[in-house]
């Protein structure tokens, strides 16, 4: 009986998260800002599916706290969102690896919607801000970007796997 060990490389994970955080910090204005999805969340979703050995609840929480600290959000806001998303994935609810593209996209869309809804909720409760329908554009942006992000992350994952061999 052979045992399958998880790969040891983890640099694509941390590199992609760093880049996503960097983009989140960049001042972007206008319609690009409206369409810009939460790339950190999307990277977390990808790695939680393909590398659950690295992207566990603890890692997601730490990334969330870093995101909150860097982007002037309420401390704990993104941490809560990321932990919940990774929990849904890692607990076995999402068997995305075996799913068809449409189902794959549906799950991702649900996660992005969850992120947007929670962000609006926190801002409404704690900062008394009104709901702006333009935030919904970021869901569309996420759906458009996801296939490209998937290809990109998959590419770096393959490079790392080849180097490991």
């Amino acid at each position: 009986m052979s045992t399958i060990y998880p790969p040891h490389y983890s640099w694509p994970i941390y590199a992609s998260l760093s880049v996503a955080l960097f983009i989140a910090l960049m001042p972007i204005a206008g319609w690009v800002h409206d369409f810009m999805p939460n790339l950190v969340l999307m990277a977390i979703v990808y790695w939680a599916i393909y590398r659950p050995d690295v992207m566990g609840l603890g890692t997601a929480w730490v990334v969330g706290i870093i995101h909150d600290s860097l982007t002037i959000s309420m401390i704990g806001q993104h941490a809560l969102i990321y932990v919940t998303v990774v929990f849904v994935i890692n607990s076995g609810s999402v068997k995305t690896k075996n799913y068809a593209f449409l189902e794959y996209m549906t799950w991702l869309t649900l996660f992005i919607v969850f992120d947007v809804v929670m962000s609006v909720f926190f801002n409404r409760i704690f900062q008394q801000t009104e709901f702006e329908w333009q935030v919904l554009f970021s869901i569309l942006g996420g759906i458009i970007i996801w296939p490209w992000l998937y290809v990109l992350l998959n590419y770096f994952e393959n490079i790392a796997a080849e180097k490991q061999q």
């Binding site: 910090l25 600290s69 982007t71 809560l80 609006v120 008394q128 702006e132 935030v135």
Partner: protein, 293 residues
């Protein structure tokens, strides 16, 4: 029944996150944990600022004259100070009567200012904030007014040792006490979450306000010093079926761009200014231009 480790871990982290959110909300800008965390973020802000610094450096390098660069920087600061001074004086003259103007004159000449660089910008619909490179070590305090050469930018809402977070006047949670420069009509100017749009609410249908009116800070609430330009009225909608006017204004400060802001220490003896802060009139006299005013 045995609980899966992942479930217990999830519940623990969820509770921890909710606890941190509550802590942040309860302590507002005085959350020590957040201060430490955002202080750790300082190097990241600097990294993000490198492209901008590199552009400036290259620009200066190509001129190949250090003195010229220094002169240009001095002139920029001087120009900014002059604009502030001119606008404040103009606004005060129109807005207040003689006695009030004298009182203001006594106040404004003891205000101190300190230039700060913008490190990061967060301009979202629900939250509009900037990070500046002056913090507790520079005697910055919560609620401190921040301006640029065109008008009021906002106030400090969160502090860390090395930098602070300024919430812009256009943030949906902000309201700024203003008066109309033309007739000293007082009102509150509310942020809408849009950089180019603010609103005056609850102003009666008979109020004397019209398009093009300059709105300046009234000083009520002791947050923003009196007389600084805030916005100009862009539209006044008088609906006979409504009790209040629908007034929209556009902020004057460069909220979406600009590299530097000025932190103000008003003369209320409540906060000690930074040792590096200089009185406005001193900054002007250094350039031998005091006589202009």
């Amino acid at each position: 029944m045995r609980i899966k480790p992942i479930v217990s871990q999830f519940v623990f982290l969820l509770t921890l996150s909710l606890g941190l959110i509550s802590l942040d909300y309860y302590f507002q800008g005085k959350n020590t944990l957040k201060q430490y965390l955002t202080t750790l973020a300082r190097p990241v802000y600097q990294i993000i600022d490198y492209p901008q610094q590199a552009t400036q450096w290259l620009s200066a390098w190509f001129t190949d004259r250090q003195e010229l660069t220094q002169t240009a920087q001095d002139l920029r600061l001087e120009n900014a100070l002059l604009k502030i001074k001119l606008q404040q004086l103009e606004a005060s003259l129109y807005a207040e009567n003689k006695r009030q103007a004298q009182t203001l004159a006594a106040k404004k000449f003891t205000q101190k200012i300190l230039s700060a660089n913008i490190l990061n910008v967060k301009l979202e619909r629900h939250s509009q904030k900037i990070v500046v490179d002056k913090g507790q070590k520079d005697s910055v305090y919560l609620g401190q007014p921040v301006i640029d050469q065109f008008g009021v930018i906002g106030q400090v809402t969160e502090l860390s040792v090395t930098h602070s977070i300024v919430t812009l006047i256009t943030d949906a949670s902000q309201s700024t006490p203003i008066l109309v420069k033309r007739n000293a009509l007082r009102a509150l100017l509310y942020g809408t979450g849009q950089l180019d749009k603010m609103e005056i609410k609850f102003l009666g249908a008979q109020a004397d306000i019209k398009e093009g009116d300059l709105l300046i800070s009234s000083g009520i609430g002791d947050r923003y010093p009196t007389g600084y330009p805030v916005a100009t009225v862009t539209s006044v909608n008088r609906d006979i079926n409504e009790s209040f006017l629908d007034i929209v204004a556009e902020p004057l400060a460069q909220l979406s761009h600009g590299e530097q802001v000025l932190m103000i220490w008003p003369n209320n003896n409540q906060q000690n200014p930074s040792p590096h802060a200089v009185p406005i009139e001193e900054a002007l006299s250094l350039n031998d231009i005091k006589g202009i005013f």
